[in-house]
């Protein structure tokens, strides 16, 4: 037997083996599209290898036109295989990224809402669903002012400080304090950190809001500076120490001007606050 015939026979049996393994392992790995393409490729290769073997016996002349046609199909199928693999890679990559960002959002303790330029909610995290008692379908697509404030127009029409428009205009993050209504119909105080989400052209397309419930951390009905004014009005010599974690409305200068003896920003350790109290009482 000539060496060429040996190669052709090896190729024929290798292709039969590949096709058999593929058919037997049909349920394993890879996507269905890839398997169909590989089946096609191996079938065509099997035909070509068989034709090469038959060439030595001199009975393949009738197969020549078909062989010419199949030979052109083979690189096309190879291309399709690589293309399908690439698409699978892209889809799988996208799935992994989606899963990563979903996990990231859901692992945050704050309620997270993503809002577009039409004030429609486009995404939320699980924490928000737990807080609101709603399901995803009830939230996505809703207007933020309708869902969070039960209002038919943007908060600014009701005299509330809404930072959404500011973030869309400036592209810079900012924070504000809002009244929200919880699932039991009770009023909550929340700190909202609003940050822009920009597209490739650096335009703000969405705003992401991180909402933290501070109802149990904030004084109802009255702010700290109003309380101080009232206390000093009633008893001007009372020493007042203002301890706050939220400093957008008041700073040390304003505090001193109001008659506050000491202004402390959180977090603070016991020893420091003890020293400040001692100093104020002297």
């Amino acid at each position: 037997m000539r060496p060429l015939a040996v190669f052709d026979i090896i190729a024929l049996f290798a292709t039969i083996t590949a096709l058999t393994i593929l058919v037997r392992g049909w349920q394993r790995s890879l996507q269905r599209d890839s398997k169909i393409l590989f089946s096609g490729l191996f079938t065509l290769t099997l035909f070509l290898n068989l034709s090469n073997v038959l060439e030595w016996t001199g009975i393949s002349a009738a197969l020549d036109p078909l062989e010419d046609f199949i030979e052109i199909l083979v690189p096309v199928i190879w291309f399709l295989i690589f293309y399908v693999f690439l698409q699978e890679m892209v889809t799988s990559e996208l799935g992994k990224h989606t899963h990563y960002y979903r996990t990231l959002l859901d692992s945050l303790h704050e309620d997270i809402i993503v809002i577009d330029r039409n004030y429609s909610i486009t995404d939320i995290n699980n924490n928000f669903l737990m807080t609101s008692g709603l399901n995803r379908a009830e939230v996505i697509g809703q207007k933020c002012f309708d869902l969070l404030h039960s209002q038919d127009r943007q908060c600014r029409f009701y005299g509330e400080d809404c930072k959404l428009e500011e973030v869309f205009e400036t592209g810079k993050p900012c924070s504000c304090r809002h009244e929200h209504w919880n699932q039991n119909g009770l009023k909550n105080w929340v700190d909202i950190l609003t940050s822009p989400i920009k597209n490739q052209d650096n335009k703000v397309t969405h705003v992401i809001e991180a909402i933290r419930d501070i109802t149990d951390m904030t004084m109802p009905e009255m702010t700290g500076d109003l309380l101080t004014r009232e206390l000093i009005r009633i008893r001007p010599d009372i020493p007042v120490i203002l301890c706050t974690g939220f400093s957008a409305k008041i700073d040390e200068q304003k505090a001193m001007a109001m008659g506050i003896k000491a202004f402390i920003l959180k977090p603070i350790v016991k020893r420091d606050i003890a020293a400040i109290i001692r100093k104020v009482l002297k």
């Binding site: 060496p3 060429l4 190669f7 052709d8 090896i10 190729a11 024929l12 290798a14 292709t15 083996t17 590949a18 393994i21 593929l22 037997r24 392992g25 394993r28 790995s29 890879l30 590989f38 191996f42 290769t45 070509l48 290898n49 090469n52 010419d68 046609f69 030979e71 052109i72 083979v74 690189p75 096309v76 190879w78 291309f79 690589f82 293309y83 693999f85 690439l86 890679m89 892209v90």
Partner: protein, 101 residues
């Protein structure tokens, strides 16, 4: 397509040239997307399988010009190598896993 006079008349068939051009196109596609295609299971074996068959297509065109017998020998060797590599790739990808059984 082209003819060359030697001891025997050698002819490059049109379909062989088309096959080679298409194969080179696929090779360019692989090179362009090599980073992503690396994540295909046992990618090196599969791409080597394609490389071997592409080599066979090159040699089948070359044998129309010179050293017909040598290149024909190499061509058939490439086809055999390609088929073996693809069989090995199938075994690597579709073999039953021991812990799954």
């Amino acid at each position: 397509l082209w003819q060359k006079s030697e001891k025997e008349q050698l002819v490059i068939q049109q379909n062989e040239l088309i096959m080679l051009l298409l194969g080179v196109g696929v090779l360019i596609f692989i090179i362009e997307n090599r980073q992503k295609l690396r994540r295909v299971p046992a990618a090196k074996i599969m791409i080597s399988g394609f490389g071997m068959i592409l080599g066979g297509w090159c040699l089948t065109v070359l044998e129309g010009f010179i050293w017909r017998d040598f290149f024909n020998f190499m061509e058939h060797m490439c086809y055999a190598a390609s088929s073996l590599l693809m069989a090995f790739w199938c075994w690597k990808v579709f073999q039953p896993k021991k812990d799954a059984e």
